[in-house]
């Protein structure tokens, strides 16, 4: 098991050309802002020390204003803002979906749910959840929608954030310059599970990525022992109302809950709330509400035998 959270995920540690453009714009505005802040607060504090009433009596000079000064301090900020606006538009063009993407982009359909992420790779018919795999150095074109309320896809190191709005598909381009795991989260308040709607993006070398994709395209391994057989049976009779496992024998796509094909390949459960270990999966199956309050998965009051079976079947490599 990896250390779940050993990676920085800051807007200012960009790992993609898009995030780098945003970070550069941040630093430009930051330094301009700092100069203005130091100047204004320095002037205020200077005045309070230098011109404080020392009991000398009388009135200070009653100056009422100066039009030239007013015009100056209207014009200079305006000029600064014109420059900032030009930089803004340039950066917008750079970090929003480019009209002519380089090469042949990777396409991913991202479908937001309360409170998990569905990732579909339309070109290879792979469906997974909460953990997005992408190849390093390639533009990844995301088509973003929601099946319920408004969510927001945000992985700070890889690019801008974008809302997932029902009936309003958005497109978003991300890219990772170097391999690694990049953490993100749903950024738009979406109800009780908003805190645990986290995203993990695995940027892999193109070869590793292709290997992962090929493995995911295969059906879930068939059961080989009695526990797994019990588990698959229970999955097909109950869990498959909401979940899908490619190869379980229950036809059709059920995406009320995450697709559980090759669950064993994932590092986390329930959109980042816990690590994907048999012990944690057991805890989850015993009482999902206790682990992730508000989650739409009910407590099914499973017997130990059913839980053993499900854990064996779901965690099968």
């Amino acid at each position: 098991m990896h250390n779940l959270y050993s990676f920085a995920n800051s807007v200012l540690s960009p790992a993609s050309p898009y995030a780098r453009d945003i970070a550069n714009l941040f630093w430009i505005t930051f330094w301009i802002s700092l100069v203005i802040l130091v100047a204004v607060s320095g002037f205020v504090i200077f005045n309070m020390i230098r011109y404080r009433d020392r009991g000398q009596g009388g009135l200070p000079p009653q100056t009422h204003g100066n039009t030239l000064v007013e015009i100056t301090w209207t014009a200079i900020p305006f000029a600064i803002l014109v420059v900032l606006f030009v930089l803004t538009v340039q950066t917008m063009e750079a970090v929003s979906p480019p009209r002519h993407p380089k090469g042949d982009p990777v396409n991913v359909d991202v479908i937001a749910h309360q409170w998990w992420w569905e990732f579909r790779y339309p070109d290879s018919k792979v469906t997974t959840a909460n953990e997005l795999h992408i190849p390093v150095g390639e533009s990844v074109h995301i088509t973003l929608t929601s099946v319920d309320v408004i969510h927001d896809f945000w992985v700070p190191e890889l690019g801008r954030k974008m809302d997932a709005v029902p009936a309003h598909p958005n497109t978003l381009v991300i890219e990772a310059s170097k391999p690694g795991v990049y953490l993100g989260t749903c950024a738009e308040y979406c109800g009780a599970g908003h805190a645990w709607m986290r995203i993990r993006v695995y940027a892999q070398t193109p070869a590793d990525y292709q290997k992962w994709l090929a493995a995911q395209a295969k059906p879930h391994a068939p059961p080989t022992n009695i526990d797994q057989i019990v588990g698959m049976g229970f999955f097909n009779s109950s869990c498959s109302a909401c979940h899908n496992i490619n190869g379980s024998g229950t036809p059709g796509a059920h995406d009320v809950g995450p697709d559980l094909t090759h669950l064993a390949d994932r590092d986390t459960l329930a959109a980042g709330v816990m690590a994907n270990t048999p012990a944690d999966l057991r805890k989850w199956l015993q009482d999902p509400q206790a682990v992730k309050p508000g989650v739409h998965m009910p407590n099914l009051h499973l017997t130990d035998k059913q839980i053993n079976g499900l854990v064996a079947y779901l965690e099968e490599q």
Partner: protein, 564 residues
């Protein structure tokens, strides 16, 4: 020069002999329910707002307790969601907006030299309807649920399919009521300023607080009306199965709600900021012993801000996916609004330059206001730079930003105004030593609470999450923020105690304890029911200055006028 004696009666009246504020009928405390006196209604607004400030503050402390450590379980997610929704709703609709309206209710008629407001009965109705709305929002507690869709209640989360409990319906009805009350108060202030100014008090001589409240009232009129329309549509969706904001084949649109809400929501920010600008524009000159630098530019920039505030709403929606051209256009208007705001900042700080600064509590709060508001303004410009919004919106960076504007800005200005005008309201000074304690605790507590939230936002912490994973730095920064919140709470307790203590035991103030220059200081403290026995002549923006210093009066009489 016969008018000179009008300004001050020879002996300061003992406030204990004056009813507070003067009662129009001898009904004892019942008179508070029947009053149409603008001063009493002003006090009612302010006391109600202070009560809700306590409620909203306790909600803030609960939020910070839950977030003090990762994976804390002080509150359930459902409780947390209701509490942050009510915190925002309470502070905006039941604290900042009404406390400014209350202050304006008390002060504006006095500052324009009027006997009362234009529509005293509408004024009373406005307050009681506002109070009803505030009560209705919290009455939802009796249904076992509170609104929990956030203070901007985005559809479709706020639709019955996702928020089926009645708390949200109470929230909608309550907000419609506070909206109606507030619109009544705004109409009243507008007409009072237009029609009831003292002779000689031309537009360019109006106190800047009156100017800002005038613009604020216009914003209320044009911003709260669309909000109420939107709320009625949302209520229709929820209880009559309409589909304004439900994304379905019937043509509803979730994004439409955002347009309506933010068409209200951004002017609302200035409804909460312009009165603060007005207070600062009164306090800084008086405590610098100089006229405001660039009076017309301070007033004019207020008008510019008021107009621009209706053209920036979509900057709350940059992440929605409106497309680059629309985002760029709203980015441009949003940056533009920084220009008139900057003009104000420069004029205030230049007013202090070469002054004779009396470092009393009101000026301390005003100075802290300037610096903290600049921080909130700068991060505001960052959000107008669209790609930075794409990175930082909906994170703790935006929480830090708007608390610097609304707490570091509006609330600090309000405190400056409270210390400044308390003697006029009650006839007694607020205690200066407690004032200093209040000030320093507030500066330390406020900045400790909110400055670190900028960093958390940059580090990827989303707002409105009931808890957070134990990522590097998250725990430490959140703990600092929580400790800061409790220091801030201590500051508020000192303030409240100062109010209560000074009301009973404060030094007797007299008519014009600060040696200020606008008309409200030309009457007794507290003022009589009819406000003024006689008014001084108004020949400039500083009539009392002209009276006290005829030799260097702001108003230079033309030879035809002579010195009469």
């Amino acid at each position: 020069m016969a008018q000179k004696s009008i300004a001050a009666s020879p002996e300061p009246a003992d406030p204990h002999e004056l009813p507070f504020p003067p009662l129009n009928r001898g009904w004892g405390w019942l008179a508070w329910f029947s009053t149409t006196d603008h001063k009493k209604i002003g006090v009612l607004y302010m006391v109600t707002s202070l009560f809700f400030f306590g409620v909203g503050g306790i909600e803030a402390l609960l939020i910070r307790l839950q977030l003090a450590a990762p994976n804390a379980r002080v509150l359930t997610p459902q409780e947390y969601d209701a509490i942050f929704t009510m915190h925002g709703t309470t502070m905006i609709f039941l604290v900042v907006m009404p406390i400014f309206i209350g202050l304006a209710n008390f002060m504006v008629p006095l500052m324009v030299g009027a006997r009362d407001v234009a529509f005293p009965r509408l004024n009373a109705l406005g307050y009681w309807v506002f109070l009803l709305g505030g009560i209705v929002i919290y009455l939802a507690l009796f249904t076992g649920s509170l609104a929990n869709a956030g203070w901007f209640s985005y559809a479709p989360l706020s639709e019955s399919a996702f928020s089926s409990r009645p708390g949200l319906d109470y929230w909608i009805v309550g907000l419609i009521e506070t909206g109606v009350g507030t619109i009544g108060a705004a109409v009243n202030l507008l007409v009072t300023v237009v029609r009831y100014r003292a002779p000689g008090l031309t537009w360019w001589r109006l106190p800047l607080f009156v100017w800002m409240m005038f613009i604020t009232s216009l914003l209320i009129l044009f911003a709260l009306t669309p909000l109420n329309a939107g709320l009625i549509m949302l209520l229709g969706d929820r209880i009559l199965h309409m589909h304004f904001f439900r994304a379905n084949a019937m043509g509803g649109s979730a994004i439409l709600w955002q347009h309506i809400f933010w068409f209200f929501g951004h002017p609302e920010v200035y409804i909460m900021a312009l009165p603060a600008f007005g207070i600062i524009s009164e306090v800084i000159p008086v405590f610098s012993r100089k006229p405001i630098f660039g009076y017309k530019f301070v007033a004019g920039s207020g008008i510019a801000i008021g107009l621009l505030s209706f053209a920036v709403w979509a900057h709350h929606m940059f992440a929605v996916g409106l497309g680059v051209p629309l985002n760029a256009a709203f980015g441009a208007t949003s940056m533009l609004i920084a220009v008139p705001t900057g003009v104000k900042i420069f004029n205030w700080s230049t007013t202090m330059f070469q002054g004779r600064l009396r470092l009393d509590t009101p000026l301390l709060f005003a100075a802290a206001f300037i610096i903290q508001f600049v921080i909130g303004g700068i991060t505001g410009v960052m959000f107008a730079a669209v790609p930075l919004d794409w990175a930082l919106t909906d994170s703790y960076f935006v929480v830090a930003h708007f608390h610097y504007v609304l707490f570091g800005g509006s609330m600090f200005a309000l405190w400056a105004g409270m210390y400044y005008w308390f003697p006029k309201l009650t006839g007694r000074m607020m205690d200066n030593r407690m004032g200093k304690w209040h000030f320093w605790l507030a500066v330390v507590g406020f900045n400790m609470t909110f400055f670190v939230q900028h960093i958390l936002g940059i580090m990827g912490m989303a707002r409105r999450t009931y808890t957070y994973p134990d990522l590097p730095g998250y725990f430490a920064l959140n703990l600092i923020s929580t400790i800061g919140a409790f220091i801030l709470a201590a500051a508020v307790l000192v303030f409240l105690w100062n109010l209560v203590w000074s009301f009973r035991h404060g030094e007797v103030a007299g008519d014009n304890p600060w040696d200020a220059w606008t008309l409200e200081w030309a009457t007794t403290s507290p003022p009589p029911e009819h406000n003024f026995d006689r008014l001084p002549p108004v020949r400039s923006a500083r009539p009392l200055f002209d009276l006290a210093h005829p030799d260097i009066a702001d108003h230079v009489p033309s030879p035809a006028e002579g010195h009469a």
